[in-house]
Amino acid sequence: MNLLLSGGISITSEIDFSQFFCWNKDCTDYGIKNQGNIVLKERYGKNNHALLKCKTCKKCFSETKGTIFFELNTPDEEVLRTISMLPEKGSIRGVARATGHGKDTICRWLEIAGTHAEEVTTYFLKNLNLKKVEVDEIWSYIKKAKKCD
């Protein structure tokens, strides 16, 4: 019992509560950080993810909510190592052979990561002081390299 308790305390102290906010839209603290309303409720799952609780609205949410690791069972390092090969000229089948994950799995992770990356881009790239903008086009094709009329 003592061991468990000390283990629990050490895990609790590892979490940085300042980066989380409540995800419940009806809560008064929705989307606001550093309100002191987030506490640890319990650990769950194979990867020991933390289940956090908002004291204001009494609703629970996962620590991976809002990241790409939400609802994934594979360890985080494994996912990151796989995704990091894709923008370095890695083909889907090549990455599948190198890491040992399935093709469909990698495509699913790429879709999640692309959607998340697009959200981050639209959040940061606004109110810019544009002075010179260059536009150009780059050719590629889908399935067949001929005009489709």
């Binding site: 980066q19 989380f20 906010f21 989307g31 950080k33 909510k65 809002g66 990241t67 790409i68 690791f69 985080d76 990151l80 995704i83 990091s84 894709l86 923008p87 370095e88 000229k89 890695g90 083909s91 889907i92 090549g94 495509c107 790429l110 879709e111 990561a113 692309g114 959607t115 998340h116 990356a117 697009e118 959200e119 981050v120 881009t121 959040y123 940061f124 790239l125 606004k126 109110n127 810019l128 002081n129 544009l130 002075k131 010179k132 903008v133 260059e134 536009v135 150009d136 086009e137 780059i138 050719w139 590629s140 094709y141 889908i142 399935k143 067949k144 390299a145 001929k146 005009k147 489709c148």
Partner: protein, 233 residues
């Protein structure tokens, strides 16, 4: 091409827009080479612009859809004056007064570029050259946009010519470029943006395009990008 093929099969042109002083990859759009696609691109760039700052100087290569797209986005409808004879003139789209657009024409002989000509389409020539100055910043061209196209081709397996890694669906094609865009802006240090410093053993201070723009203050890791919780607006 047969009739059973899906509509999205065939050639796809990704239109890219880049901010040339900080090398920030602003926007991309996948489509065919039509005016509607150019309008989508310029609308995306217009959303990122600070409303109080002036309209930027646009540069492109010789392709008419860009010019028509620009008039549609940064233009106004004007009625030409009636001269007293004949039919009344139809209303016409004219560019705004502070819109500046330069086209770069390349003359080629046997696939080698012999000469480049900068042709000013919209805007006052003296104003454009006066605003840009006479130093190295005054360069007008599409070199930076073409350089990022090379980076896309060498970074993503989908863009390799004459290979088997081409995209099979348009949806995954867009997602791959979305991931590349964030990776290029936040993670990959840009060689031409580095600063010379004299602190101990380090000679160079590496920067990413987002650092040059002033959005972040350090080079991000992939984990930092993918676990960033986007704040609610």
């Amino acid at each position: 091409m047969t009739e059973e093929d899906s509509e999205e099969y065939g050639d796809v042109y990704s239109l890219t827009a880049i901010k040339s002083d900080s090398r920030l990859f602003l926007f991309h759009h996948e489509g065919k080479r039509s005016t509607e696609d150019a309008i989508e691109l310029f609308n995306g760039v217009e959303k990122m612009r600070n409303a109080s700052s002036p309209i930027p100087v646009f540069t492109s290569d010789d392709w008419d859809a860009f010019e028509e797209g620009l008039i549609n986005v940064y233009g106004k409808v004007e009625l030409p004056q009636y001269k007293g004879i004949g039919r009344r003139p139809l209303p016409k789209l004219v560019p705004l007064d502070d819109l500046k657009y330069v086209k770069v024409l390349k003359k080629k002989v046997k696939n080698y570029v012999v000469e480049t000509v900068q042709r000013i389409i919209f805007g006052d020539p003296e104003e454009i050259f006066g605003m840009l100055g006479t130093d190295s910043d005054s360069y007008i061209g599409t070199s930076y946009a073409e350089r990022i196209n090379l980076t896309i081709r060498t970074s993503l397996a989908r863009f390799i010519r004459k290979g088997m890694n081409f995209s099979k669906t348009k949806r995954m094609h867009q997602k791959a470029i979305d991931l590349f865009q964030a990776w290029y802006n936040f993670i990959k240090p840009h060689k031409s943006l580095r600063l010379k410093i004299d602190s101990g053993n380090r000679k160079w201070f590496q920067r990413t395009p987002a650092m040059a723009e002033g959005i972040t203050d350090h080079i991000w890791s992939l984990k930092e990008l993918l676990t960033f919780r986007v704040p609610v607006q």
